[in-house]
């Protein structure tokens, strides 16, 4: 493989991770506030279909992206209403929405199957795009990929470097304390769930109007991405930069699977495509196992030096969810 093809491949990895980045950031914001939006898999499909339909009918690609965000926000609003106002199980409502939105996208998307539609073009940035290697990787992408880069930074900045972001952390960790500090916990949860939903909704059109332009119904290959994005959120430990790393790692592994295809000719292509899933289970195991009680007991029985190294490694990988994740808040 030449350096040129590798660079093109890696630039493709950055672009194809963009939708997952939006989804993971949206879910991170929502879960930081204490609400699990399990509908993600359906939301991405419905917003991909809706975004494509809107852009197709209006011939305006920006409207397509906005439609996707609106769909994501509306689905998230249902999750918020059911879980915050009606105090129903977030998992139950989210799961039902994940299936329903998926089927709805197939049902409503039927007339758009295989239709050629608008597609976002690459927009190389002058000067920066000319830089060797870096320019090709980062500055000859399309607008939505640039937006994904910026979003990672903005989300990180918001959560860890601003006052409202600090409050957001409090709402997910210790809602009672945040309430005493004057935060309207349930209102903020609504706001973050809906904003997070809009970001998740951006992932759909990022596929149907850019990376895999068009709507192909059940063979779009989008079914399942939302579930992967959910586990990347956990892998990311509810931290935008670590979550983004997870998304890029996932895109890289998928690309690697494609590149390695000719090497492992006996393995059917469908098998390599699911290679990320066992890896996902493995990473979840690594991230979570440090929390298990038996690990602590085993570690305690080990000799000093081994224990230190092992527990340090486990701590580096460990991620704990916001303590109030999934727990309804009542002010009285």
């Amino acid at each position: 493989m030449t350096q040129e093809t590798i660079l093109i491949g890696l630039a493709g990895v950055l672009a194809s991770a963009a939708p997952v980045i939006f989804a993971v950031l949206g879910e991170t914001l929502s879960e930081r506030a204490g609400v699990i939006n399990l509908s993600m898999n359906g939301t991405i499909l419905l917003s991909a279909m809706g975004g494509f339909a809107a852009a197709y009918n209006t011939d305006n690609i920006v409207l397509g992206f906005l439609a996707g965000m609106l769909i994501g926000a509306l689905v998230a609003l249902v999750v918020a209403f059911a879980s915050i106002t009606l105090k129903q199980s977030q998992v139950a409502v989210g799961f039902v929405l994940a299936l329903t939105c998926r089927d709805l996208s197939y049902f409503l998307g039927n007339p758009y199957m295989g239709e050629p539609g608008p597609r976002l073009q690459a927009a190389p940035i002058p000067v920066l795009g000319e830089i060797p290697i870096l320019g090709q990787l980062f500055f000859r992408q399309d607008a939505i990929t640039y937006l994904s880069f910026i979003s990672i930074f903005l989300a990180w900045l918001w959560i860890f470097r601003t006052r409202p972001g600090l409050m957001l952390q409090g709402i997910g960790e210790k809602p009672a304390a945040a309430f005493i500090r004057g935060a309207n916990v349930n209102l903020m949860r609504y706001v973050y769930t809906v904003i997070g939903g809009a970001l998740i909704g951006l992932a759909g059109p990022a596929y149907s109007l850019a990376i895999r332009a068009g709507w192909m119904g059940t063979i779009s290959g989008l079914d399942g991405i939302g579930w992967i994005a959910l586990s990347i959120t956990i892998f990311g430990g509810w931290n935008p930069s670590r979550a983004a790393f997870g998304a890029y790692l996932f895109a890289f592994l998928q690309w690697l699977g494609l590149v390695l295809q000719p090497v492992f000719t006996q393995v059917p292509s469908q098998v390599l495509q699911v290679a990320p899933f066992p890896l996902m289970i493995l990473t979840l195991l690594l991230v979570n196992i440090g929390n298990a009680e038996w690990v602590e007991r085993t570690l305690a029985a080990m000799p000093e030096t081994t224990r230190k190294i092992l527990s340090k490694a486990l701590r580096a990988m460990r991620a704990s969810p916001p303590s109030a994740l999934g727990v309804p808040f009542e002010s009285e």
């Binding site: 209403f81 129903q88 139950a92 799961f95 039902v96 039927n110 979840l284 298990a292």
Partner: protein, 345 residues
């Protein structure tokens, strides 16, 4: 679904009407007549004995999966991995059949072994989710989902790899088994009374485990309050594992039925999404075994009835999934509204 407590029935009824109203609006938005759509779905599932037999074919795995999920839900577990447990049941059943292909054993013995094999396969696959949960701290939703995708890959690998048809491997599945390996069917109809019987026995057993045994009581105690159950001396993690194993065995039986009574071979989409649909049924019946039979039958009828839609009305058959999902969603919302009102009153 039909919860008797203070006005609960009224809320359920409103939810039902709202759900059908909402889906009717969706149909109107694509210029389709809701009345025609519902009518076609009804005649598509109950219009003739043959069609009703198809409904029962879908009802069997759905009821078995629902029965299994009632056990995991009772112990407070969200066994999304049930879909993969159905798949592994089917794979294990296929494996047993292949193993005895040349054997001189009586076919009835082989079929029995194949179904037991399917149940063991499903239970082993469920135990992976359970072990990840109990010893690895991996939430059963994510462990289960990941294993679902792995199970699909495993099916495709087997069909295109070690178990491929002589000549060209294809998406149509493995070589069909000889006729004596299939559960006997009614004349002219595809439904096997044996399969139907197994499904009904499954739900009855689960009903009695949950309602009438000490084991069921402790299982529910673990589900209601894990910590309190632990302090009371119930070996909580063992109970979590038991419920995964029971659910996996029932889901595996569903997969075995798909192979032994429906497809007579392993195909890529052997589970047909019945695992996920079973989760919806379990939610709709509010995790109560008594309502499992009518609601599973209704959902199976929607699935079969919707097959007519692309032919008669040029609508996508995913309408059944939309209707099922919207129904469960509105019932969940109505339950929330009921709790809110009854608290205020």
């Amino acid at each position: 679904m039909l919860k008797g407590r203070g006005g609960g029935f009224l809320f359920q009824l409103i939810a039902l009407l709202l759900a059908f109203g909402f889906v009717s609006l969706i149909l109107l938005s694509v210029n389709a007549s809701p009345v025609d759509a519902y009518k076609n779905m009804f005649t598509g599932s109950f219009g003739s004995m043959r069609k009703f037999a198809e409904v029962l074919v879908a009802f069997v795995p759905l009821l078995l999966v629902t029965a299994g999920l009632l056990v995991t839900f009772s112990s407070g577990l969200w066994n999304i991995g049930v879909e993969g447990q159905v798949v592994l049941g089917a794979i294990a059943t296929t494996w047993v059949f292949r193993y005895f292909l040349e054997s001189s054993l009586h076919p009835a013995v082989i079929i029995t072994l194949a179904i037991l094999g399917g149940m063991i396969g499903g239970a082993i696959w469920a135990s992976f989710t359970g072990l990840l949960k109990v010893f690895g701290g991996v939430n059963e939703i994510f462990g289960g989902l990941g294993l679902n995708f792995v199970s699909t890959a495993l099916t495709i690998y087997l069909i295109f790899g070690p178990w491929k048809r002589p000549g060209v491997a294809s998406m149509s599945g493995t070589v069909p088994f000889p006729a004596e390996f299939s559960l006997s069917q009614l004349a002219e109809l595809r439904i096997s009374p044996w399969a139907l019987g197994i499904a009904l026995v499954g739900i009855v057993i689960v009903y009695f485990i949950l309602q009438g045994t000490y084991f069921g009581l402790r299982l529910k105690a673990v589900g209601k309050n894990f910590r309190a159950a632990y302090l009371l001396g119930i070996p909580t993690w063992q109970y979590s594992m038991y419920s995964f194993l029971i659910c996996g065995a029932l889901a595996g039986a569903a997969g075995a039925m798909q192979v032994a009574a429906v497809y007579h071979r392993l195909i890529p989409s052997i589970s047909s999404g019945y695992g996920y649909l079973g989760l919806m049924v379990a939610m709709l019946i509010n995790y109560k075994a008594v309502f499992a039979i009518p609601v599973a039958l209704f959902f199976a009828a929607l699935n079969i009835g919707s097959i007519q839609l692309p032919i008669l009305m040029k609508l996508d058959s995913s309408l059944s999934g939309v209707l099922q999902g919207v129904l469960v969603l509105f019932v969940l919302l109505a339950e929330g509204a009921r709790q809110k009102f009854s608290k205020k009153a």
